[in-house]
Symmetry: C2
Subunit: 478 residues, 2 copies
């Protein structure tokens, strides 16, 4: 009964996706609202996922030569003001510190919404010669953007992220780094988070405030809405000129640097929930799950059962898996429900009968498939099962993505798809922001990206019918 | 010439310790001032040390059951106000956010100077029953305290730290956890940072705002001044009562929880510099050094030299060491000076002669001792040499600490020691804050701690001559 109740407290995913999402966040104990509007508390289960994301990404960054730094959390107004587009984009949504200690500050300071301006200020001081380039810095931190409506992991007034900021001697190098980091993100999402991405370039309307080009990875959630999951920006030399970041090149000529920035945030946890979750709760891919295996002893009061559970745990730990034993005095059914809610990829059941037979039972979280494993083969079996689960989860997510991409050849078709078929819509675009605005107004769908793999599915813009320039992925988005 | 100049740019440690410190921070590229007064930039060399400290400590925390979380960076004024001593201690030095987006805020929010109030607000909501206890949460973050005078790593308006916050059912458990974490810090400092600590309890005058008891680890810097390096606080049930954090115990009675908090910060990097550094720059203990070994090829243009350097690097990397090759076109002497400045524990020189003899030369950073190693034994030899270096550094630091502890039996002796012998002074204390105040006023020395290992070196207070209650370590401090 009790275990049934635990699951019943979640709204069904297909009845009310929004409520289901909120329920999972709460019942899996990932996040909690704080007493400050729009500010969230990352609880242990949620933060542990972020720690694993950090660990994986950080290692990948460092392999490409990136170094971590930490910059001040406050930015003087005069510094934020230096790049015109940038300040216009961010000033309306920053928090201002006006008092320090007991004194009014002579200049107000904003809590960083992003740190381009601070990095420019640093690079201006430490870059002099072409020998000082490139600089490939990154920081892990939190940023503040004053949001009106907020949702756990997807949009909040403070969120955790990483922001990489690099400066280069040439435009080519900067573009190369911009694309390299986008590909790194996409590869990480696909291979670790089991989330396939659509990669492409943002239209001018949707690009980052101050960037020459913004590239994006876009994922499709279970409900058919898109989630922008990471972005990589090429700034050209615009910031460099505004901030005076320049170097003497090999011909001894003073030249502005070329600059990039790129970031992903705790939004990725939102993506994990909305791509993989089901009516029993969270489903975590084995490669990112903080706990990969939970061992549930059956009839644990019986002689030898708990000992066997602990022995199994030790064997699996030694082999490098992240394992816990649920030896609490709750009933097994309750434990199953709880561990499913939290998305633990694999459950191992072991009871007196199993011990007699020298075996245990593995149950996959994603499809409930049961596998009997001999105790002396358990390491190999667990490894193989988790590997299969990881691959199957990616395959399902790919299948879901591919089966929810629709082509629209004219505006009637476009509107009909938006109305009835949640997913990405491929449609040609003339390049005019007016069409983007009209589409958004008529349908709430926005241009998600101009995919790298361009195709010509029609000669004319899906909105205005004028000659088309680009294939665009459109969609409703979080 | 060039290499000599690099080192000459550092002031000698014994000529002007303060200037030496600043020089090392700058020349080893650990930290940089930002354009906001009191806010620092952690550069790659400095941040990498912090990352290693985090990694080591975080693993040790988790072994004791601690879980990481992330709390909002802002605290509403009404929340900060709830505990009287706490707000009195912190309100004068916090930064206030008064505007969010384009609007004046209805209530001002302070940037966290520490997060006791936020954790209480969370625990109030998630702790109901004795079954919910203990909660052992920690967060890694930055905090802001508006400081008037600042110094890199030692005192700045924003700094990086971790803050652990735990709640327990009983006073005994809370006290046990407070001491456990203090011991964990001391053990880490001794075994990883090679810095021996004096452990003890703070006097009421020096304890944390709102705590029942504050315990501290105090290190002695090369110049004989003390550095408070970590603290662990027992709050009793004071915060719990102020915030209403209570649980129903096994007898179904509503009871306030007992609470602790504990933290260390980037100050530890200051300690590393000031305990181990010398006139050539930083000296890092092998267990915390981001780069443990730098290979410097000699006559690197000659056939096979660079290949041998890379082969050595690969061998050592495979064995788990952190290794770089300096294959830049600088002269070897310059490379030596640079790598010494950064405190790399071991240099390996390899040139044509060495290759002929199937060997390379290991040079320790701490004492310049040279060891010849056969190439086929290099892994064992490097391991052994780093181990010896780590142990010798700790032994030297212990020797320095022990030889700079002086006993004062009366106030004349006390003042004479403060004047002429930098170090810790052991002196008995009557327990009256008036004596602490007088000593501070007369000598600038403060009570550092009442050490756990109490002794009675005299019957009377070193200041007022009245009956003594406690042995206290006194000293000038950073």
């Amino acid at each position: 009964m009790a275990d049934k109740k635990l699951v019943e407290e979640i709204t069904s995913r297909d009845v009310d996706f929004t409520q289901w999402y909120t329920d999972v966040v709460r019942k899996a104990e990932l996040m909690e609202y704080s007493s400050i509007k729009g500010f969230m508390i990352y609880k242990p289960n949620g933060y542990a996922i972020w720690e694993n994301i950090q660990k994986e990404l950080d290692a990948r960054f460092k392999e490409t030569g990136v170094q971590n730094v930490y910059m001040p959390m406050l930015i003087p107004e005069s510094l934020l003001d230096k790049e015109k587009d940038h300040v216009e984009g961010f000033a309306p949504e920053v928090a201002w510190v006006t008092q320090g200690g007991l004194n009014e500050l002579p200049e107000r300071l904003c809590v960083r919404p992003t740190s381009e301006t601070l990095f420019c200020d640093l690079y201006k001081n430490i870059v002099q010669s072409h020998r000082d380039l490139p600089k490939l810095y990154n920081q892990w931190c939190s940023v503040v953007r004053w949001e009106k409506t907020t949702r756990p992991f997807l949009r909040s007034s403070e969120f955790l992220w990483q922001e990489g900021h690099t400066v280069h001697a040439t435009a080519e190098e900067a573009e190369e780094r911009t694309i390299q980091m986008l590909n790194l993100y996409a590869d990480f999402c696909e291979n670790v988070l089991a989330i396939p991405m659509v990669k492409g370039r943002k239209t001018d309307k949707e690009k980052f405030a101050g960037a020459v080009a913004t590239y994006t990875i876009e994922a499709l959630m279970h409900d058919g809405k898109a989630l922008q999951s990471g972005t990589s920006h090429n700034f050209g030399d615009g910031f460099a000129k505004a901030f005076g970041v320049q170097y003497t090149d090999k011909e001894n000529k003073l030249t502005p640097v070329h600059q990039t920035s790129w970031g992903v945030s705790t939004r990725l946890i939102g993506a994990l929930i909305m791509v993989h979750g089901d009516d029993s709760g969270l489903v975590l891919p084995p490669r990112i799950a903080p706990v990969q295996v939970t061992i549930v002893p059956i009839q644990q009061h019986k002689d030898g059962v708990l000992d066997q559970a602990y022995a199994l745990r030790d064997t699996l730990k030694q082999a490098g898996f992240s394992v816990t034993v649920d030896d609490s005095d709750k009933r097994p059914g309750w434990k199953f429900a709880e561990e499913e809610m939290r998305g633990v990829p694999l459950r191992i059941e072991v009871g007196p009968k199993d011990i007699e037979n020298g075996q245990c039972v593995l149950v996959r979280r994603d499809n409930r498939e049961k596998v009997i494993a001999k105790i002396d083969e358990v390491v190999a079996k667990v490894g193989e099962t988790l590997e299969n689960e990881q691959n199957d989860m990616l395959a399902r997510a790919k299948e879901h993505l591919n089966s929810h991409i629709y082509d629209a050849h004219n505006y009637e078709e476009f509107k009909e798809i938006v109305e009835n078929k949640p997913g990405f819509i491929r449609g040609m675009w003339c390049g005019d922001v007016a069409c983007e605005n009209k589409i958004k107004e008529d349908t709430t769908a926005t241009s998600r990206c101009m995919p790298f793999e361009q195709e010509k599915i029609s000669d004319v813009c899906v909105c205005c019918g004028k000659p088309a320039k680009k294939l665009v992925f459109w969609g409703k988005a979080y």
